[in-house]
């Protein structure tokens, strides 16, 4: 977790610094090489902003990704952090290993819908089941961008490719599957809904286990046409926010006088909170069955619902707690703690002879 020094941010003319003493620019990455207008770039920007506002220390973040346009973006934010752009669809396992080796790191994972829901489905679900600590972002455009626009497994039934091909199968809903696998922080958003996305990302970064943020992120080149259900037009016209989401950090005063009928408050580790303000729907994200019902209905009725779909605490412990690891990262334990003594060897040898 980010260390939040007690000193307030500097207020000089110099670029504003956050509590980690860093300017926003310190959270940038290399210039993007994506198509201009790609939804993924908007998400990158929100990751940068969220990291800044969350006062992350770059050294305490590991950026992980698979392969795809979306996965490339790990190079476009947090340039000072270590990044690992692995192979297609297997980021979940890499993240698990990183988490085990150094559970003090915050894993930020970026993946695509093909990367997660097609080739990576099994690993993704097993990672969720293990409750590996990660802020897992799916940049969901319904197609394989990098290989030029084939359907991915999140493509909606009836949606069409640019050249006309129609998808005959129901989409995989990563949020629904994650809930089914016990994920306790499941959000859906839209790359164009910056404020909501920013707050959902912050909550996910603070989460002590697997937090999923599935972000519809239009592919301007291959899936932004009429007939697409992941186009800007479609998403903008159809997005319905379930609630208004605000992340409230631990160091900010929390006004307990939110109207309880109108808000729902979610406690995150170490005193931070997410506040959900009611909009049109009366939705309680802490009920697993209702969350699944909501997603099921959304699919059947082609609704694009965004917000914190599900949150509940009390399931399996995060993996590294299940494993009862020492406080320090395993990666850097000294030999004195990882090589048993000569006596141990001798006693084992005795028992074998």
């Amino acid at each position: 977790m980010p260390s939040a020094p007690a000193t307030p941010p500097a207020t000089a003319k110099a670029p504003a610094l956050n509590r980690a003493g860093l300017p926003l620019t310190a959270y940038r990455g290399l210039p993007s090489t994506l198509c201009s207008g790609c939804g993924h770039d908007a998400i990158t920007n929100m990751i940068i902003r969220a990291s800044f506002e969350m006062n992350l220390e770059p050294a305490q973040v590991a950026k992980l990704s698979g392969i795809g346009c979306s996965s490339k973006t790990a190079a476009y934010f947090l340039n000072q952090s270590h990044g690992f752009n692995g192979v297609h669809g297997r980021m979940a396992a890499i993240a698990t290993g990183v988490n085990l080796a150094n559970h003090t790191l915050l894993n930020i994972g970026v993946s695509g819908d093909g990367d997660t829901a097609s080739i990576g489905l099994g690993q993704f679900l097993h990672m969720v089941r293990r409750n590996v600590r990660i802020c897992y972002i799916i940049e969901n455009n319904g197609v394989y961008g990098l290989t030029k626009g084939q359907f991915s497994a999140t493509a909606d039934k009836g949606s069409t490719l640019k050249r006309g091909e129609v998808n005959e199968m129901d989409p995989i809903d990563a949020c629904a599957l994650a809930i089914e696998m016990g994920c306790e922080y499941v959000a859906r958003s839209f790359s164009g809904d910056q404020k909501q996305l920013l707050n959902l990302l912050k909550g996910a970064m603070r989460y002590d286990g697997t937090a999923l943020v599935d972000v519809v992120s239009p592919c301007i080149t291959f899936n932004n046409h009429e007939g697409s259900t992941k186009s800007y037009k479609f998403a903008k016209e159809r997005e319905e926010a379930l609630h208004d989401v605000t992340y409230v950090p631990d160091y900010e005063p929390f006004f307990a006088d939110y109207d309880h009928g109108q808000t729902h408050t979610i406690d995150l580790p170490d005193g931070a909170r997410i506040v959900l303000k009611k909009l049109d729907r009366d939705y309680d994200p802490s009920d697993r069955v209702r969350a699944l019902e909501l997603l099921s209905r959304a699919r059947d009725e082609h609704l694009f619902l965004t917000g914190l779909i599900y949150h509940h605490k009390g399931g399996p412990k995060p993996l590294t707690k299940q494993k009862k690891l020492v406080a320090e990262p395993l990666a850097t334990l000294p030999q004195s703690r990882t090589r048993p003594s000569r006596e141990v060897l001798e006693s084992i040898m005795d028992s074998l002879s």
Binding site: L64, G83, F84, V98, L100, L325, V326, P329, V344, S353
Partner: protein
Amino acid sequence: MSAIAPTPTSIPAPSAHGAFPVPQPLLNDFVLTVATVNGSGSQSANAVLFRAIFQMGVPVSGKSIFPSNIQGLPTWYTLRVNKEGWIARRADVDLLVALNPESVAEDLRALPSGASVILHSDLKSMLKRDDLKVHIVPFGELVAQVCPEVRLRKLVSNMVYVGVVGWLLGIELEEIQKAIVQQFGKKSKAIELNRNAANLGYNWSAEHLQNDRMLQIRRMDANRGKILIEGNAACSLGFLFGGVTVVGWYPITPSSSVIDNLAALLSRYRHDPETGKATYAVVQAEDEIAAIGFVLGAGWAGARAMTATSGPGISLMAEMAGLAYFAEIPAVIVDVQRVGPSTGLPTRTGQQDILKAHFLSHGDCRHPLLIPADPKEAYEFAALSLDLAERLQTLVFLMSDLDLGMNLWSAPRFAYPEKPMDRGKVLSAADLERLKKFERYRDVDGDGIPYRTLPGTRHPLAGYFTRGTGHTPAATYSEKTADWTENLDRLAKKFRAAADLLPAPVVEVESKGDVGLIAYGTSDMAVKEALDLLRREDGDAPGYLRLRGVPFSDAVRRYLERHRIVHVVEQNRDAQLTTLLRMDFPEFASRLRPLLHYDGMPLDAKSVVQKLRQARA
């Protein structure tokens, strides 16, 4: 005693035993096979026999030939006793314990004339030969006497044959009892039951059976300071003392017990004394792709990470293996080889992944292999593999096999590692502060091995981006031709550098002439025995160089230079290591004569002798 016999003995009478049995007492020199049904609990009984003989100071080895099944199919356990220490598998059986109705006909048929048989009385009718020495034992009745609980009888009846065999072979009853205690640890009821069963078998035999004492165990002193251990357990110990921190795995025969043992050791010896917290993590993955993924993630983040698997797992790890190679991530895979291709014979042994592991993944890449021949090397190479992986920043394979891994071996006690762990070229924040510069893939030292930093290092220069795509020395993305070739050439250089870091080949037998032999791994015992036999019987045998790793060091080249003919003994069909030798030493390719064994049984000296004689003819 032969010059290369592994275990000095003190019994004077030289053994004339060889390929053809002769009618004279076989003192500490015979083969015993127990034919039974798997899942029937005979494993403990066999271990007790093994131990008892071992405790009597006599060289002994055991090979379990079991089916890929949990319960009900035929299984054979072979104990070879050899005073000279030749404990490779020997195919001919001197004493058969025949307990399995399904296999008894075939088991009896296969015996050489004059062999002894301990036959379950229920199977009497299956005996169709009169050239065997048969001892019929009513196991059913006997076990009923010592074991009132019917449901335990099948289990306990195994210990009855231990008693019978003990009496027939002259194994001291006390040693059997000691071995039973050792085997069952703290379970006093089990000890009691099994002791009674063994005693009964022993005493009943003394009363009812004839003993011509042609097969006899006599106390020796060949096992002083030795331990008994399975190769997989030895390997686990190596990882324990090698300081492994993250283990990802997926069960597969015959590698599962590497992890089973390791997890048990870690849980015992690797919890912080104060907090009780673990200094390691073992996580069972959903498959081998995930297991190697855990290892790469952990290795990248700085853990000493490993996994263990076998053939099918190796195949599934192919893509990630290439990533480890190219992104230069430390990782260790133990491949306990079984018989392939495909699912093959999961409970048989071979050396059939050598080429496959070495070249694993698409594109140009080659991985270092460590090939242990015995438990001691399994232990040492396991620890070494972690060092090498971090030193070389690459994937290292430990190529064990089922014979080594799953059978019990006697071995010298293992030595405590004297050298500190090698964590390789890792730069700390302080280093970065001093150097003011860090380029992840720059060949600073000229050995092809770059420096790395670990995630979590608090320095603005520490971060870098790891990828499986083309990159510059500074770890930025590049599609430039020069960047690509320079990087690939550096990787080749690094690979060559590995040759000198691997354990050097061992000249096991000096060459008298210009004919040599190369072998590796568990072929060692059979090869040594074969060469001894050839020398004694034919007065002539090739020298023998034992390889312990790939890539090959210069010593291998010199060996090839010095010999006109070099036989290469391998336990696979496609001459896999020969292929690597021919690849790297084309000038000597035609000197290499593969001598292949791939039927899934541990290699035996007789086949080596036969094939060498054929080659000579």
